[in-house]
Amino acid sequence: MKKKETIFQLLMQKPWDPAQAKIDNTHDGETLNLSKGKLGLRYIMVVSSIFFSLFIVTYSDRLVFADWQQMPEPLLLWFNTLILFISSAIFISTQTASKNNQFEKVKQKLLIIGYLALAFLLGQLFVWIQLINLGYYVSTNPANAYFYVFTALHGLHLIGGLVYWLMTIRKVWIPSDIVVANTKHTVELCAIYWHFLLAVWVVLFGLMLFS
């Protein structure tokens, strides 16, 4: 796969063949041109995409039945979505700052992102409280159940992201932990995960909005 080798070419190799052996002997043991961290993050994103996709499949299976009653979308939900967009945008500029070695800026922006994430989580909680007060309980209707499940699971993913965010903060903050290349890498991974969570939320929110 590395050096433009397709999976089919790879699987066609004859490892016992002397000509192939000469090529193989110089192989450096890496399959993809990716850092281990980045590949690890992709792994996690794939698992969690499958996880959400399966929920979406069951959702689309359920919503065609007559007893499905659409939930209202409180304005606060739009506001929360905006927060996610803003934090993703800030993360882009954080990445730029980190590429340019401006770690003071990175520190500030990471803090803002943290606050925004907390604001988002609290916002989601307020939405829950609002809806519960309006009588939209989790067991009243399947649409409600899916709404609470989607928001809860997305929130849990964000809390997981906050753990990684803490690790990133530590790498930027504590001078003994600063290894420039590593820190940049961590900031980049954290940013990718944040964008991913935004994408997941947009899909879930869009799904609930337009179905």
Partner: protein, 598 residues
């Protein structure tokens, strides 16, 4: 046995490719007893921790199977077992054996121990995550064990946990904590496994040593790798169904629960789909069969090749078959649901895909057999187990062809024929590989052999015994004995022969079960007093035997990582002095060996 003659050449490399200049990996260094043996980040120790935990919980499942068999054969001996207890034992036996024993042992146990050693890495790429993965797995096991002690006992819903019965009050553990703990335990297991899988996949893809291309890896690694990728796709389905069913149970949602009347009272559920659960469950459940089988395929290929002193026949085909089986395993799941009321055309589709899977699987079996053809077969204990695996797997596979066909499955569904089939194909067959693998790699882990006499006894009793148990079950299935019935003594349609057979099976099952205790005794005593094995006692080619010290020390490969010059199957190369050439021996170190013509 003395060290092989390659020891000296390996030290004197001469004019060969130098080891790759890699930045030193941040290796974890244990500082105390706790971090060395308990909270350890070394994959080898984690592998052993996984194995011990898996075998310990597996023993619980073994005891449960004895109790079930006693109830079926001699119910008067076990008056304390009623219908509820029987279903609880069936459920816990199945779930523990499939998930907490086999999956954890193959991937967590063998995966952790062998992957870094076989691909030439110092450790897994994320050792800390790897350690957490084990502790999360242990937590899952403990939650599961807790369910034995809660009021109402563990769930008795059957290992498939089908709703609505799984969470209704008529089912043992259904209205108590039993089912909740089971669902939570499974969810924790999936989280833990995802962390472990992250390590297996990325270590194999990105942390191999120089010269170790993917197509030079031993088939064991291919099997574990593909199984982990399957788990990556399949386990989310399990956790999704567990979350949804937990919510149905605790919060009264109706994801899976239809409107139903329970004890004369209308429940508050309405509109949920139990069939949806079945789809989700089997979308996980069928790949799960291959998550267990693929590592077994890989390991058995290596055992056969090493102990028959011959390269594995059709290495590339073996890899292709592993990958193709893995891919196909995702489009066969509904063959578990032929009697669930699905559209027959839907069933026809799944019958076709199911039968297609037999092609790459049969190809593997042919290749194993052809590898044995004119080979220098050594009937060591690992080899005996490998041979027994081939036979057993073919047996179980062929009954799978019966059950894969809708029209044959319908009458056989829910009979002992099914029980016999899946025990042969994914119970006995993989367990035989586990045994073979333990006998094979025990010298690697402890530096000593397992006792041979006890080993042979263990093999013959387990092998012949399991046939004595499961062959008659096919007959029981044909005569219509239903599975999951806790008592059949006075049923009029049962012939007398089924009673005798049940008694026979029970007696054999107890004998086979107790023989496993002898095996454990063998492991414990041989670890301390067994015959010393020396380095590479089986004269294998793969890297796990090429560490400077056996058992491998911290960082596995001493100062320099090995450089790989050949595949893992250079046995009996024409011209070579020894009948094998390890992977890290350069061509100019064995100039007399002729390259194979292809």
């Amino acid at each position: 046995m003395t060290a092989d003659s390659y020891e000296d050449i390996a030290a004197n490399k001469g004019d060969v490719i130098p080891a790759l200049e890699v930045p030193p990996q941040d290796l974890y260094h244990a500082r105390s007893f706790w971090t060395r043996w308990i909270f350890c980040q070394d994959a080898k120790i984690i592998g052993i921790q996984y194995s011990i935990t898996a075998i310990a919980i597996g023993l619980v499942a073994l005891v449960l199977s004895w109790l079930m068999r006693l109830q079926l054969g001699f119910p008067e001996l076990v008056p304390f077992i009623g219908a509820a207890e029987y279903y609880q034992f069936v459920t816990m036996h199945g779930m523990i054996m499939v998930i907490y024993l086999l999956t954890a042992l193959f991937l967590g146990g063998f995966g952790n121990y062998l992957i870094p050693l076989m691909v030439g890495a110092r450790d897994m790429v994320f050792p800390y995550v790897n350690m957490v993965s084990y502790w999360v797995y242990l937590l899952a096991v403990l939650v599961l064990v807790t369910s034995f002690f809660v009021p109402g006992g563990p769930t008795g819903a059957g290992w498939t946990l089908y709703p609505p019965q799984a969470i209704t009050s008529g089912t043992p553990g259904g209205d108590g904590l039993g089912i909740i703990l089971m669902l939570i335990s499974l969810s924790i297991f999936v989280v833990g496994f995802t962390m472990g899988g992250l390590n297996y996949v990325i270590t194999i893809l990105q942390a191999r040593t120089r010269g170790m291309t993917l197509m030079r890896m031993p088939l064991t690694v291919w099997g574990i790798f593909t199984a982990t990728v399957l788990a990556l796709f399949a386990f989310p389905a399990l956790i999704v169904s567990c979350i949804m069913m937990t919510l149905d149970n605790l919060l009264g949602t109706s994801f899976f629960m239809p409107a139903l009347v329970e004890f004369g009272e209308q429940s508050e559920y309405s509109g949920g789909s139990p069939i949806l659960f079945q789809h989700l469950f089997w979308f996980f459940g069928h790949p799960e069969v291959y998550i267990v089988a693929l590592p077994a395929f890989g390991i058995v290929s290596d055992l056969i090749s090493v102990h028959a002193r011959k390269n594995i026949f059709g290495y590339r085909m073996m890899v292709w078959a592993i990958v193709i089986i893995g891919a196909l395993s995702f489009i066969v799941w509904a063959h578990h649901m032929y009697v669930a009321g699905m559209n027959p055309w839907f069933g026809f589709f799944f019958a076709t895909t199911t039968l297609i899977i037999a092609v790459p699987t049969a190809l593997k079996v042919y290749n194993w057999v052809i590898t044995l053809w004119k080979a220098n077969i050594r009937l060591t204990i690992p080899m005996l187990f490998a041979l027994a695996f081939i036979v057993t797997f073919v047996n179980g596979g062929i009954t799978g062809l019966f059950l894969g066909n809708v029209i044959v499955d319908v009458p056989l569904s829910d009979t002992y024929f099914v029980v016999a089939h899946f025990h042969m194909v994914m119970g006995i067959a993989p367990v035989l590989v586990v045994f073979g693998a333990i006998y094979h790699w025990f010298p690697l882990i402890t530096g000593r052999f397992l006792h041979e006499g006890m080993g042979k006894f263990h093999f013959w009793v387990s092998f012949l015994g399991s046939y004595a148990i499961y062959f008659p079950m096919h007959y029981l299935g044909f005569v219509g004995v239903p599975r999951r019935y806790y008592e059949m003594y006075d049923s009029e349609y049962m012939t007398v022969s089924t009673n005798y057979l049940n008694q026979f099976i029970t007696i054999v099952a107890l004998i086979v079960g107790f023989t496993q205790l002898l095996f454990l005794y063998n492991i414990i005593t041989s670890a301390k007093f067994g015959k010393k094995a020396g380095k590479n006692p089986w004269k294998a080619c793969s890297l796990e035997w090429r560490t400077p010290e056996v058992p491998a020390g911290h960082g596995n490969f001493g100062k320099e990582l090995p450089v790989v010059y050949r595949w893992a199957y250079d046995f009996n190369v024409p011209g070579a002095k020894e009948d094998f050439i390890p992977q890290d021996i350069a061509p100019n170190q064995v100039p007399e060996a002729e390259a194979e013509q292809t």
